[in-house]
């Protein structure tokens, strides 16, 4: 590129530049602090309208009072001072949406923060949108395969469901969500991961992990980091949902993860208190329930007349010392269609994912489970329930009758089989195969300590020698007599080879 060419281009740009003086509504900053500004004037400002501060920083009108507007500032608020003039833009807060967002890391305003170039879109969706109505909806019928045995079998998630992941810090909540994203590789689900108030180091680790597993190809990451203002954390899940809604309106299925909504509630509490809204229980404002209900209600499954798209939400809540009866956890539990409950004790016992199968439920997911999985999961659930009841007796040792002992032994093996390493999601057919072997007593003669190794070898065998069986299960999606025969044959064959080899 020559120098003259650049100058020529600049000249053209300057010639074409047209400055039009239009009438604008302006206000003056009366008070500013902690990311919130009070502005006098701006008589025609709308609720949640974008306002432009000097220096190109945007704000959102939240409190509309007589003669004054309370606004939160999205971005750096250090340069803003009392007396600055604020312009109204006439636009409701919206984010760019579209296919080019996939594979990108963006902030809640839809601006790229991954250094891969600017994102331009001509389609904008409002951040706040009313959820789909009753007429447009359909009940859950297609499963989301998370690739985690314990979840897919016992607490299945359907497309369009809201399933809460709840647990203390360091119990693997994010790991469950990330595994679910990784398992969608090559599937038709688009994933949106919304990080709210997370450490930037953690987010970059997650993005690197997703890239390593080739999962960024179907994922959008929306980040409001711990160092970003609370206003950005507050709008992040809504912005993520807006991006997901674009795909839903195109008839596609989307999985959105809100990590985590406790920090979202904290961010909103901060903004509300600074705006002098009256505090309620735990100092949260009065509309904290509506804050989460209007967000999660936007995750839905539309019926075929409306395109048949869906948004599945996996919100995450971090509890303090296992207290699920705190304000935010109870709120979100009551909004969602079930919860996946992770426990510290189980985590340290080595049961990972540290799923408490007793407290975890999926209220609608079983309608979406494949027939094959339903068949093995029914027995599995029964085995686990009986095991939990008898577990206390197990410690007394020997003087138990044969039946009880057998149930305890089966339970121990079930727990062992449900353990699964991180970043190793498993396809549905493989899950069905191993759970079938478990629930039909094919593993009862293996030592508990060796079950894990047995399973690994079994999976290896099924992937090579039993490939035809897996394909048959994946295709039929039910355990018909024909499938059962070949599956049992494969298991028996493997056991013979395995036991003779050792």
């Amino acid at each position: 590129m020559s120098k003259d060419y650049i100058i020529e281009q600049l000249k053209k740009q300057i010639e074409n530049f047209e400055a039009v003086a239009t009438t604008e509504k302006v206000g003056t900053v009366v008070e500013v602090g902690d990311g919130v500004a009070k502005i006098s004037g701006l008589s025609d400002a709308m609720a949640s309208e974008m306002l432009e501060f000097p220096g190109g920083v945007y704000g959102v009108a939240l409190n509309l009072e007589e003669g004054a507007v309370g606004a939160m500032i999205l971005g750096k608020y250090e340069g803003i001072k009392e007396g600055d003039s604020v312009k109204s833009t006439g636009r409701i807060l919206s984010v760019p949406v579209g296919d080019m967002m996939i594979g990108r890391v963006v902030n809640p305003l839809g601006e790229a923060i991954d250094g891969k170039g600017e994102i331009t879109s001509d389609t904008y969706y409002p951040v706040e949108k009313v959820a789909p109505g009753v007429i447009t909806r359909k009940s859950v019928s297609v499963p989301v395969q998370t690739g985690i045995k314990a979840i897919d079998a016992v607490i299945p998630v359907g497309r369009g469901q809201r399933e809460l992941i709840i647990g203390d810090r360091q119990t693997g909540k994010t790991a469950v969500a990330i595994d679910a994203i990784i398992n969608q590789k090559g599937e038709d689900l688009i994933c949106v991961y919304v990080a709210i108030g997370q450490k930037e180091s953690k987010v970059s680790r997650i993005v690197a992990e997703l890239e390593k597993h080739g999962a960024m190809e179907h994922t959008i990451v929306v980040v409001a980091g711990a160092s970003d203002p609370a206003a950005l954390s507050f709008i992040a899940p809504y912005a993520g949902t807006a991006m997901a809604e674009y795909f839903m309106s195109k008839g596609k299925d989307v999985l959105i993860i809100h990590d985590d909504l406790s920090k979202h509630a904290w961010a909103y509490r901060q903004i509300s208190l600074i705006l002098r809204r009256p505090p309620g229980r735990e100092a949260y404002p009065g509309d904290i329930f509506y804050l989460h209900s209007r967000l999660l209600e936007r995750s839905a499954r539309l019926n075929d007349d409306f395109g048949g798209g869906s948004i599945t939400a996996l919100p995450i809540i971090e509890t303090q010392a296992g207290d699920v009866s705190a304000y935010i956890p109870t709120n979100v539990i009551s909004i969602t269609d079930g919860q996946i409950y992770l426990e510290t004790d189980l985590f340290y016992k080595g049961i990972r994912p540290a799923l408490n199968v007793g407290l975890s439920v999926s209220r609608v997911g079983s309608a979406a489970q494949t027939k094959a999985m339903k068949k093995v999961a029914g027995k599995l659930r029964l085995d686990l329930a009986q095991f939990r009841e008898l577990e206390a007796f197990a410690q007394f040792g020997s003087d138990l009758d044969e039946n009880t002992r057998r149930q305890i032994e089966r339970g121990r093996r079930t727990v062992e089989i449900l353990k699964q390493d991180q970043y190793e999601p498993m396809p549905m057919a493989q899950q069905v195969a191993v759970l079938y072997a478990l629930t039909n007593g094919f593993i009862d003669d293996i030592d508990v300590e060796k079950v894990k190794a047995w399973e690994n070898d079994f999976q290896k065998y099924m992937k090579s020698g039993g490939k035809a069986v897996l394909e048959l299960i994946a295709e039929k999606k039910e355990l018909s007599e024909e499938v059962v025969t070949v599956l049992e044959k494969a298991i028996k064959e493997f056991k013979e080879v395995y036991q003779n080899g050792k």
């Binding site: 530049f17 009438t23 509504k25 007589e66 003669g67």
Partner: protein, 133 residues
């Protein structure tokens, strides 16, 4: 319920409209009695502001501020006045000229919370934004 300054000003305007001077004097005295009874004498300053705003609006009087880099001459001010009178359908325009060197040139016209920015500094910053992109 708390009564705001605007509501006081509005009612005072309604009461005093098209009344003789002596009547108005009586009303104003009563008005202050009411204010005192409601313990809201501290609002008096605000009410005065609002009252004049309401009075101006009802009688077609518009207050406008023109900001320019150097003091505007009589002719330009007349033109601005004419423009404002036409745009806001005002019978009378009270024009105030503020001199601000920073805007380099052109004018900024502000009426209430509406602003028309035709200053050179604004054009420069707009051009900057275009060129950066």
């Amino acid at each position: 319920m708390k009564i705001t300054a605007t509501q006081y000003a509005k009612s005072l305007y309604e009461v005093t409209r098209e009344k003789t001077q002596s009547e108005i004097d009586g009303f104003v005295a009563n008005f202050f009695k009411v204010l005192k009874k409601n313990n809201q004498l501290k609002l008096a300053g605000k009410i005065m502001e609002k009252f004049s705003a309401i009075h101006d609006a009802k009688n077609g009087i518009v207050e406008a501020t023109v900001t320019s880099a150097s003091k505007l001459d009589e002719k330009s001010l007349k033109e601005v006045e004419k423009f404002v009178a036409k745009k806001y359908e005002a019978k009378k325009v009270i024009l105030k000229n503020v001199v601000k060197k920073e805007i380099k040139g052109g004018i900024i016209l502000q009426v209430g919370d509406e602003m028309m920015d035709a200053s050179v500094i604004r054009k420069i910053s707009d051009l900057k934004a275009v060129l950066i992109r």
